[in-house]
């Protein structure tokens, strides 16, 4: 599929999904919303981490920053404005941090980015306690479910479209080159540092915007719930289980994962995370290429 076809397919899927609020039940809509959120997070994560093989756990930091923009600004800012500012705030944070830590690789980078979420969470908790004398914020008068759904859909579609565009651009080629051999990419004249910071910033924008858009779903926002490391882990898991190098993989697996999590949560409310953990281990051990590799294997078997 070339770039134009992929963009057209994205647009068509978006048009179909946009009809959901008028067709589906409330429960199905909520489920679709969580699928969309994770699809957007996983696609934006894979945008940077897929080709470069970096392992970023910073998603929950970006998501939380976006959510806190809504928490502080909702009411003064319109909903869409908060989403936009949330994305920009997360992107600015990513650019700042990325410039400092993107020369690290492997486990070091994973640890630092995991820490970022905790760092921002502790900083905000401290700030709120000391200066605002509060623990959390109440969102009064949230937008309707359909508005939230359509906004999240728009952000996710934008993330997918951006991912498609990046793959076909000089930035995309540079990222693949960095992932294969960073020194060689430098020798060939790629400004690897600028490219990495740019892609990291871009991927953070979508995570922040999604955080800002989803924040109104919780009526009460506190650091512990929006900087939940689980959101970051889940994103990485979805993208890697789907196949981080592919575009379709993360989208497919976000649907599978959201439905599966919901099913397990309803059927086994206590053992659900135990099952999820076991499943994850089995998937990593026996399907390391992700769901996308299963699809291509099937296709090869047919041919």
């Amino acid at each position: 599929m070339n770039t134009r076809e992929a963009l057209a397919a994205t647009l068509a899927a978006g048009a179909l999904l946009a009809a959901m609020p008028w067709l589906a039940s409330d429960f199905a809509l909520a489920l679709a919303l969580s699928c969309l959120m994770y699809a957007g997070l996983a696609v934006s994560w894979a945008m940077f981490c897929g080709p470069t093989h970096y392992l970023s756990l910073a998603t929950s930091a970006f998501f939380g920053i976006g959510a806190y923009v809504t928490a502080w600004g909702f009411g003064t800012l319109p909903y869409l404005g908060a989403v936009l500012v949330g994305g920009i705030a997360a992107a600015a944070f990513a650019a700042l941090v990325g410039a400092a830590v993107l020369h690290l690789r492997g486990a070091y980078f994973a640890v630092i980015t995991f820490g970022l979420g905790e760092l921002v969470r502790h900083a905000i908790t401290h700030f709120e306690k000391t200066y605002a004398h509060t623990v959390g914020r109440v969102i009064s008068d949230p937008p309707e479910a359909a508005t939230i759904y359509l906004t999240v859909l728009a952000v996710t579609l934008a993330a997918v479209a951006t991912a498609i565009a990046v793959r076909a651009s000089r930035l995309g080629f540079a990222l693949v080159g960095i992932g294969a051999d960073e020194v060689r990419a430098q020798t060939l004249g790629v400004d690897t540092r600028a490219m990495k910071v740019a892609a990291f910033t871009l991927s953070a924008f979508f995570a922040g915007a999604l955080g800002a858009a989803m924040a109104v779903r919780w009526t009460y926002i506190e650091p512990l719930s929006v900087f939940n490391p689980f959101i970051g882990f889940q994103t990485v898991l979805i993208a890697m289980v789907g196949g981080a190098q592919t575009l379709v993989g993360p989208i497919l697996s976000s649907v599978v994962f959201s439905l599966l999590t919901e099913f397990l949560r309803l059927r086994f409310p206590y053992a659900f995370l135990i099952l999820l953990g076991t499943l994850l281990i089995i998937l990593v051990l026996y399907l390391p290429g992700g769901i996308a590799s299963l699809v291509s294997r099937l296709r090869r078997a047919h041919a």
């Binding site: 502790h122 990593v284 390391p288």
Partner: protein, 289 residues
């Protein structure tokens, strides 16, 4: 004077625990590139085992340290055989091993932590052991803390000695320097890897047992220790047990003094500030040449 001594001592005591946790994790990472993010969960298991042995069977926590270490060592062999052996065999490159073992670590974290919630609930548990004050040089210490400190430092030093002077320690260091070279001179990876992984978990378990004598325990207690251990490893350098010991003390002291001068809620911020500073200035660790 006494006050500063107490502050420094409290930093060194937490630092000693950090060192024990970090040495285990550092061995696993340095030797096998296993980024075991679930390390702290095994610390939590060690703490619960010690607590159970004390409250149910009435066994002295110090006496149960050795059985806890053995139990965690065996558990480590099982976990390695079930999860990490396959990754090491099938992964095409070191980076892939790191990424996959990190994911498996997350899986283990969910698994163990939530199993503990199911088994023991979310309440804080604790018992009081040797909780009488001792006075040394004008400073007052709880005697259980001194015991914990002595055991933590002793254990770390024993680990250093094992690595330096025993045959297995030499084999471990050889594997870290050059995996291919070590295999050429007849070091058996299939034995060494599970043993070192098990030893890492045993150290975590003992650290948990020590912690349970001083602090209250809960199923989510492990995660902060994992993160702290990763910071300590970064401070001390990958693969360096001595670096982990010194890094643990440094971080413990920074936290103790930092919290005194600022506020206790800034503890994590301080740790991260140290981490980011070190990574920017000396990415290979404070003691690298």
């Amino acid at each position: 004077m006494g006050f500063w001594l107490e502050l420094a001592a409290s930093g060194l005591i937490t630092g000693g625990i950090y060192a024990v946790v970090a040495i285990g994790l550092n061995l696993q990472y340095g030797l096998m590139r296993i980024m075991n993010i679930s390390h702290g969960e095994f610390l939590m298991l060690g703490a619960y085992l010690t607590w159970l042995a004390y409250t149910v069977l009435g066994i002295n926590p110090l006496a149960s340290l050795l059985p806890v270490a053995v139990a965690l060592f065996l558990l480590g062999l099982i976990v390695y055989a079930l999860c990490f052996r396959r990754i090491a065999r099938t992964a095409p490159s070191v980076e892939v091993i790191e990424a996959r073992s990190l994911l498996v670590g997350f899986g283990l974290m969910f698994l163990v932590q939530n199993a503990a919630y199911l088994a023991w609930g979310a309440d804080l548990r604790g018992y009081s052991f040797l909780a009488e004050p001792v006075e040394i040089a004008g400073a007052r210490f709880m005697s259980n803390r001194l015991v914990v400190f002595a055991f933590a430092v002793g254990l770390s030093l024993v680990m250093l000695a094992v690595l330096r002077w025993t045959l297995i320690g030499k084999a471990v260091r050889a594997m870290m320097q050059s995996p291919a070279g070590a295999q050429l001179v007849g070091i058996d990876t299939t034995v060494l890897h599970p043993v070192v992984f098990g030893a890492g978990l045993a150290l975590a378990g003992v650290a948990g047992g020590l912690l349970s004598m001083v602090y209250e325990i809960s199923p989510s207690m492990g995660e902060p220790y994992t993160v702290t251990a990763l910071i300590v490893i970064t401070l001390g350098g990958l693969g360096s047990a001595l670096g982990s010991l010194l890094g643990g003390f440094i971080l413990g002291l920074v936290e103790a003094f930092g919290m005194h001068f600022t506020s206790p809620s800034l503890k994590m911020l301080l740790s991260y500030a140290v981490l980011i500073g070190v990574l920017l200035a000396r990415p290979r660790g404070l003691f690298s040449r």
